[in-house]
């Protein structure tokens, strides 16, 4: 077995055993790769899975990757797997989930600015359903950034955020739009406005 294909075989075995999404730098550590070697390896494996008539594929969000079944086999497997995500989305949930998916990682205050409404409970219910994930904001203590979860990508049958319909278009449109005004402004009005909770306030 050649060195590169041995590494891919190891990567496959690792993803198979672990099951959950796993960080690229963790993969590098376990497989004894040089830093920076992980991502091309993942991309190569992903490509091989797509090119060959395999039943599996990779989901990759730029940081973590996970091995999943291909969406075209959903029908055969659905009886086998308990799907918890398929319940309907509420209007507020859909609105918030779209903004987070296309513009994430995004802070709660930014999301609330865009929607004009306090989104604490909407975020909570999306997190309880596992559709979004949060991580510490590296720039602000005690604040979180929200992003689409692997479970959402799995559920939608896509390989990562970039496969969301029109992702590049919406993402760059909004980024371009936002650029001149660097605002983390909350609705500031005379009457009750979006209320910042301590955790999110800088």
């Amino acid at each position: 077995m050649q060195d590169q294909s041995k590494k891919i075989a190891e990567l496959e075995a690792l993803l198979f055993i672990h099951g959950e999404p796993i960080e690229i730098n963790k993969i590098e550590k376990i497989l004894g790769l040089v830093s920076g070697e992980g991502e091309p390896l993942v991309n190569q494996f992903s490509e091989e899975l797509r090119a060959s008539g395999r039943g599996l594929r990779l989901v990759f969000d730029g940081e973590k990757t996970q091995m999943v079944t291909k969406p075209e086999f959903a029908k055969i497997l659905e009886d086998f797997v308990k799907e918890e995500l398929s319940a309907d989305l509420t209007p507020a949930g859909l609105e918030a989930l779209s903004i987070i998916s296309y513009l994430g990682p995004i802070s709660r205050s930014r999301l609330e600015y865009l929607r004009g409404v306090n989104s604490m409970f909407t975020l909570r219910s999306l997190m309880l359903r596992g559709l979004i994930a949060r991580a510490q904001d590296p720039k602000r203590a005690n604040a979180y950034l929200y992003r689409a979860s692997f479970d959402l990508f799995k559920h939608l049958g896509i390989g990562g955020p970039k496969e969301l319909p029109g992702y590049e278009k919406f993402n760059s449109l909004v980024k371009k739009f936002e650029a001149p005004q660097e605002q983390e402004v909350m609705v500031s009005g005379p009457l009750p406005t979006v209320v910042t909770d301590e955790k999110n306030a800088s």
Binding site: A92, R115, G116, L128, D197
Partner: protein, 252 residues
Amino acid sequence: MSNYELKTEQFSGPIEKLLELIEKKKLEITEVSLSAVTEDFLSYMRKVADSDLALKPSPMALRLLADFIAVASRLIFLKSKSLLPDEEINEDEEGELKDLEYRLRLYSELKPAIKALALAWRSVKPQYSRPYFMTHQFSSLEGAGEGAAFYPGGNVNLESLAEALNNLVAAFKDVEVDTQTIKEKVVSLEEKIKEIIARLSETASSSLKSLSTSKTRSEIIVIFLAILHLAREQLVHLEQEGNFSDIMVRKK
């Protein structure tokens, strides 16, 4: 999710709603079109308030309403500019109106993305993954986990457990503070309503202009909302002669 949360989740956010109203009238996003949809926005807001969540409002329902009021107050301010022409607009107020327009434009760019996701959600073909360490079974079903291998990790001790729980409880308190703030703001509206009733019982009739004399813009908007509320409760009668003339408030 509790019932309260479920109900409030059925409403779109105020920015989305406002944009929808403007698009329905096939208008561009301008001050004029904002003025044109003010009535519709207020009546949608009334729907939010009147949905059964208003009978016994949860903190989330109050919060939702508060955010609608925040947007409504800007719309009303726009209207009041013409109602009270001698009122000066300062830079902040101008900035807030620009900000509202900016957000509406931004949101209109996002709207197709929301539709796209809704479509993707409805036509799902899920992919499935394996559970974490699937092949590592727990020892037995009943009392599973007991007697299996034990890997506590270096940081599990009495202090770290108590600290973790303490952090969680502290986060609960944030939620309570949040809720309290909303309540306080709602109280200021209530007070204003009482004030107007008191004033009307002295004079029997008044006008928006006289009620608003030497008041800050924030107060004027609260007064406006209070009057709308009283009119709906049929405690007062409102009269306006022309489109932009002063509003007369009479006790019933």
